[in-house]
């Protein structure tokens, strides 16, 4: 610094004499503070955690083998002997299949969203930050996908590629890239024009360093909120694909597939038929409500 020694006395007089009345809290600490008092969100977050744990530890939790068929005990009602939730049309234990089914459904719900967030987010940030013709090219390509309803697109893609879980996940990923890309692009465009980004450019920061330090921190929030909302959609569409026979293949336990095969027995044992549907409903609702809670908690004016 030039002349750091002189003039300090005159600068001292201009000091801001104020003790901090507030505790220093970062943005994420603020969000955490708000979430702590949002009991609805906390409850459903706990539910999600429970479902996830249940799926991970399925082999230890499930009382029976989910693949073991039994011609003797077909379509038994709830609490039939030690089949606590009854049996399906092949005599397999519903409870065990529901516990194992969480694995497939969560996998189909989470993996496509995570991959799509990464790809769509990257494309969106690039389009938003660079702008111009790059933006035009990326966003117009995304618009093409927007022309189809998401479920139709998913069915069409997995139909073309053939059934199976992996193809189903690829189809779902392709479906979710455009909306995530658009969210990322919008958020980036907004942040790019703020004064602090201009200041960073004036300091000589490279594009990569500006994006890393100043853009990402401000756009990850909205992208994350949107992605968390997509998980429930993904679970629903994945179940739909399985229901149509395009996703998980029998005899693997999957909630959508179970719903599909049990529907023929709806007049024999309606409650048992509804159970996979209920699981899909609860999981998807939990993800939705947690996403809403996050949105509220993260909407801090700063």
């Amino acid at each position: 610094m030039t002349d750091m020694s002189i003039g300090n006395a005159s600068l001292l007089r201009l000091a801001e004499e104020e003790a901090p009345a507030t505790k220093v809290r970062s943005y994420w600490q603020m969000v955490g503070y708000r979430l702590r008092y949002d009991y609805v969100t906390l409850f459903f977050a706990a539910l999600i955690i429970a479902i996830v744990l249940m799926s991970i530890f399925a082999p230890w939790i499930a009382p029976k083998d989910p693949y073991k068929t039994s011609m003797a005990f077909r379509l038994k009602p709830i609490a039939f002997r030690d089949f606590w939730l009854g049996t399906d049309e092949l005599g397999r234990d519903i409870l065990s299949r529901l516990i194992y089914g969480g694995r497939m459904s969560l996998l189909m719900g989470l993996v496509p969203v995570v991959i799509a967030t990464f790809i769509g987010g990257t494309l969106g940030v690039i389009a938003g930050f660079i702008g111009g013709s790059v933006n035009m090219m990326i966003m117009r390509t995304m618009d093409v996908f927007y022309a189809f309803p998401s479920i139709l697109l998913a069915v069409a893609i997995s139909g073309a590629m053939g059934g199976g879980m992996v193809n189903g996940m690829v189809a779902l990923t392709l479906v979710f890239i455009p909306p995530l890309c658009r969210i990322a692009e919008t958020a980036t465009t907004q942040v790019r024009n703020l004064d602090f980004v201009e200041a960073a450019r004036a300091s000589g920061g490279s594009t990569l360093s500006i994006v890393g330090t100043h853009i990402l921190g401000n756009v990850l929030g909205p992208i994350f909120i949107y992605a968390s909302g997509l998980v429930s959609v993904s679970i629903l569409i994945a179940s739909g694909l399985s229901f149509l026979g395009l996703g998980v293949e029998p005899p693997n336990p999957d909630w959508g597939l179970m719903l599909s095969t049990l529907r023929q027995s709806i007049y024999v044992n309606p409650i048992v038929c509804a159970l996979p549907g209920a699981m899909i409903f609860i999981t998807s609702l939990s993800f939705n409500l947690v996403s809403d809670g996050l949105r509220q908690a993260m909407d801090v004016r700063m």
Partner: protein, 343 residues
Amino acid sequence: MTKISPVSTLSAAPVSALQPLVEVENLTVKFVSREATVNAVNGVSFVINPGEVLCIIGESGSGKSVTMRALMRLLPMNKTRIGGHMRVGEHEILKLTDRQLSTIRGSTISMIFQEPMTALDPVYTIGHQIAETVVRHEGCSYADGMKRALELLEFVKVPSAERRLKAFPHELSGGLRQRAMIAMALSCRPSLLLADEPTTALDATVQIQVLVLLRKLQVDMGMSMIFVTHDLGVAAQIADRVAVMYAGRIIESGPVKDVLMNPQHPYTRGMLASSVHSATRGEDIEAIPGSPPDMRRLSSGCAFAPRCAYADDACRAAIPPETVPGPGRTVCCFKAGATALAS
């Protein structure tokens, strides 16, 4: 059909000359949220006579705008606790039903804002919006409302008013938009006009035009006005009386000339002294040190004490009561008038 009177005879609704038009007593406004309670206004009292202009001067967070919004009950009810008592004309503001309130808004009390775009609807023409207001309050035909709109635009000196009637808000410049908003606010002859920094966003050459216009309209129509500003120059230009607010209280009030030329409260003095108006180049400005207080945690003493050069233990212990240093004046300071202040 109701016959509407021509603009030339526009004048405020008659109010008994014996009593003040506005009486505010011990107004308190608190914003309550889970995280904190913000004490925005802490016991504000004032009266305004018919045809008088009161300027409320204060910095951001002083509670000046909140006071005015409370008068029109524009604050979000679920998060706000309003105490005290407010009377405008014969209306007890806090006791009005929502229906009565919407009748009074626009006819008895009208408001103009800093940013006209918040008051004007972007999808309708200026003429349509003014006419609608007139029709709603006077019950006349739309054609008559349009006629009145044209008269009003001419009244607020909008050039080529006929053409502007058909203009959308975004097609007008800042100054014209402000005039259009003033025309709309005046369309039903309010007896009280609330102005929330209406000239702050305008350029200097346009600001002076709007100020001169507002003062002329106010005199011609004989209406009262509360004008909120942070700019002492604007207050000097338009006010009859001024009230200086700090941390949700009126700390000094009186006729504009007395307060601005002979301030008694150290804060008012500080504001005048720290203005670059009177500063000499090459010398430090006598700035008031520190920052305004945190309205979530106000001390039990005088809120200005931490920034005040004259403060002592008495100031930090209790809130100074209102004293009357001269005719029509009030000041809230233990040290006002004391020799310590005479420089």
